[in-house]
Chain length 353, copies 2
DNA sequence: ATAAGTTGCGAAAACGTTTTCGTGTTAAAA
DNA sequence: TTTTAACACGAAAACGTTTTCGCAACTTAT
């Protein structure tokens, strides 16, 4: 079990100083051609690589990005990670992942674990519990300690940081407009409770679309699901709630769901009730997961472009990290950007065309 | 932009030495009650936390696990990560994720980036390209440098390391036996080319089941898909291949697919051809992704227990890391474990019961 | 009053780098 | 031959910790 070789060992072996070895490896002109070659040959032979940790300590930066997300078994979030990793790697950074599991405490703990020098900055999407409790002190503290944060998707405005979001209102509105244009007269929405920011925004888009078309929203057509029902264990409960919706509104001919699961479940229930899709019921869902493409009928969706969001977030963060380096006029601008990624409607089989 | 506070700053502020501060914070008995309180109060006030990087350098271990997987937008792999993260966090470790994107080069690069001190050990699943080229030098090198590896799912026997796998042969065999028991007379398999180890093994299980029941396998019932067709871009090509399978074997009444996508695609094609599921065609698939549960009909699957695999792998790795600490009799046993996670059959709508 | 033991703290090394500065040697210039 | 410049290298500091060791200043026992 040989440890990795260090400068010190090379120096000793070659009977020169550590500084000489270091310089030789970095092709410093201070070192004679002779020794340089000797050192480099030896280093290559022993496959020397500078120790990252030592470099991090010396440079006071780790070239590592911390990601905190609510869960990873989720198409959207894993797409985002893919995007982050892509540009992070391209720009010489690693990513370290923490899962909050939608829990406030785990979010805090995870951030503390990473904030103590392990990373240079955060990219995160806020846990539902945190959104519910509206306790954001861990974010402000992190930022106050000079560690930049980029939030995506689930963001809160009161935190001063860069953000990457999709225009949930607009995306939802477009979806509902599509349903209207396709002749739907009674469009229901299946959303989450309002504390989930995106649920609220998408509901807003739904309402906006109706208003624009002089349709009076009916409370009975707005179903707000308690979020715990997302987990597979509560699938039957989710189905019941949706069935209830259909039963008490026989004339529903359009469904806008804020996520895939709600959409496919709605379709399943609707079919059981004898509705034909898209003939007598058209469905559009937010999200661009695997279900949309491969379920039958495939779903018309508002695509969120998760990977693009990740790429954008990573660029935002790294730009900030690397501008700080040169920026010696601290305390100045502190101006933050909010990038909006455009959604687009992907038409599939669950709507008429 | 205040930096995080350090021992040195506290020491200066309180006019004691760095050592005193350090000891006071760790409740050393060397320090008087008085100063200890003073230091701790001050540290708390300024929210002092020891710098992880400095600790890593000093202790020569990072308490961080490196994960290298082919892709993250994949139910199985993200489940595994969830499992790894769960036990890693519980045991005081972080996880840092690298994606190989199924590419040999990216796998190598990623491992090199992390192996230079950033992590204490690897958990990984091998990229398809690597399996194809059968070039494993980066694994052996890493291991030779004293960094333990745990492989899962896609493993190779010639590398001396701990492994966590599912019994692919057995799982596949059970699935096919279920089909046989359910009355299927002409069972086809949709698998991958043999260089994907799990594809090969599952095909073996298929053959074993047939043999056990005195059924002569027919080459025309064995479809081995070129793996590039996994990506959504080639979906139509995949469909064509499967359609071909059905067209040239009209009597197929059972399908065993090695992954979800193949299964749902097969179902889609079969329906187009007028087959009813599960009445005239029964389907079983490996994998426990989201498609299985939510597509219609839902899929009967061989569940792989991704999260459990992740948990097991993390425990294996951390155990090894922490046994090394005490184990000063190096060079000894070097005995590695291969843990087999049992699969089980989850019956849903795509088979009769 | 002296020897011995206790208490409380600081200096310094170590982890592995990079970089600044100093210095001895040799070669070129005066 | 002396002065100056170029060259090649080493010592040391710094990043932020923890820990070993040493050493004063007391306190207790003789």
């Amino acid at each position: 079990m040989k440890r990795k070789i260090t400068l010190k060992q090379i120096a000793k072996e070659l009977d020169v100083s550590i500084s000489t070895v270091s310089k030789a490896l970095r092709n410093s002109i201070e070192i004679s051609e002779d020794t340089r070659q000797k050192v480099q040959a030896f280093a290559k032979l022993y496959n020397y690589r500078p120790n990252n940790i030592a470099l991090s300590l010396k440079n006071r930066k780790t070239k590592t990005i911390g990601i905190i997300i609510p869960e990873i078994v989720h198409h959207f979030f894993s797409k985002v990670i893919t995007g982050i990793e892509l540009v992070a790697n391209k720009r010489g950074y690693n990513v370290i992942v923490g899962l909050s599991n939608e829990s406030f405490d785990k979010e805090v703990i995870n951030m503390q674990m990473l904030a103590n020098g392990s990373i240079d900055g955060f990219i995160l999407s806020i846990a539902k519990e945190t959104l519910q409790q509206q306790d954001y002190h861990h974010f402000t503290e992190t930022i106050n300690q000079g560690m930049p944060i980029v939030m995506f998707d689930r963001v809160v405005n009161e935190i001063p940081c860069d953000k990457v979001i999709v225009d949930d209102v607009k995306g939802a509105k477009q979806a509902v407009e599509k349903l209207i244009k396709n002749g739907c007269k009674n469009i229901a929405i299946i959303s989450t409770k309002d504390y989930v920011s995106v649920g609220k925004l998408r509901t807003q888009g739904y309402l906006d679309a109706l208003e624009d078309h002089k349709i009076t929203p009916k409370a009975s057509l707005i179903l707000k699901i308690e979020d715990k029902l997302m987990s597979d264990d509560h699938l039957d409960k989710l189905e019941k709630e949706i069935e209830q919706l259909f039963q008490s509104n026989k004339s529903i001919d359009g469904i806008f769901a804020v996520n895939e699961l709600y959409a496919v479940t709605a379709i399943k229930v609707a079919r059981k009730l004898g509705l034909e899709i898209p003939k007598s019921l058209q469905v559009i869902s937010f999200s661009d997961g695997v279900l949309s493409k491969h379920s039958t009928p495939s779903l018309t969706t508002v695509s969120q472009h998760g990977q693009e969001i990740g790429e954008e977030a990573a660029n935002l963060l790294i730009n900030r990290l690397e501008s700080e380096e040169t920026d010696y006029n601290d305390e100045t601008d502190e101006v933050y950007e909010t990038v909006v990624i455009e959604t687009n409607l992907i038409e599939r089989e669950s709507t008429k065309n």
